[in-house]
Amino acid sequence: EAGVAQSPRYKIIEKRQSVAFWCNPISGHATLYWYQQILGQGPKLLIQFQNNGVVDDSQLPKDRFSAERLKGVDSTLKIQPAKLEDSAVYLCASSHGQSTGELFFGEGSRLTVL
């Protein structure tokens, strides 16, 4: 089966610009996650969707970050305006549901903010 697809793989922008990342989860996976992985740190959950509803967005900086999952499939994560500290890899993951907690990750989108 196809894995989790993410794009773009790399993005370089200047501070105060905007950027969007796209994720297509594994077919049939109800739960979708966006994690932020800053260099030298572990992945930090930004937002978790169950189908097209938000389960947890407690660590999402809502003044600049937004995410949506239309029709319970693809998802888009947007940053506007970007700050230097947003430089990180943005990881998308999906899972069957909430039965075992096993996540399937995409390759990530690396953002550099200059």
Partner: protein, 114 residues
């Protein structure tokens, strides 16, 4: 709230030598535990998991981890490492019941020296 501690940020080890990567967790409820591996320029992938039953779990490539409830640990071991094991390893935890938020540790970079 739950947390994961990986005290060793980097572990250099000679090829064919044994290795242990340490992981300790904190949680007020029963948990599932995971080790994920991230090879260079790739996404995270599940290495092994503990859900219930035997406290010793194994992966297909020779790694094993033991759940120790009294010490709240889930250390990862391999008796003889290969060059191909060079990667970053992340320990993760999620509550066994209810809303499952997967929390990751900061990761340990395993560098296998020829």
């Amino acid at each position: 709230a739950q947390s994961v501690t990986q005290l060793d940020s980097q572990v250099p080890v000679f090829e064919e030598a044994p290795v242990e990567l340490r992981c300790n967790y904190s949680s007020s409820v029963s948990v599932y535990l995971f080790w994920y591996v991230q090879y260079p320029n790739q996404g995270l992938q599940l290495l092994l998991k503990y859900l219930s039953g035997s406290t010793l779990v194994e992966s297909i490539n020779g790694f094993e981890a033991e759940f120790n409830k009294s010490q709240t640990s889930f250390h990862l071991r391999k008796p003889s490492v290969h060059i191909s094991d060079t990667a970053e390893y992340f320990c993760a935890v999620t509550p066994a019941r209810g809303y499952q938020k997967v929390t990751f540790g900061t990761g340990t970079k395993l560098q296998v020296i020829p």
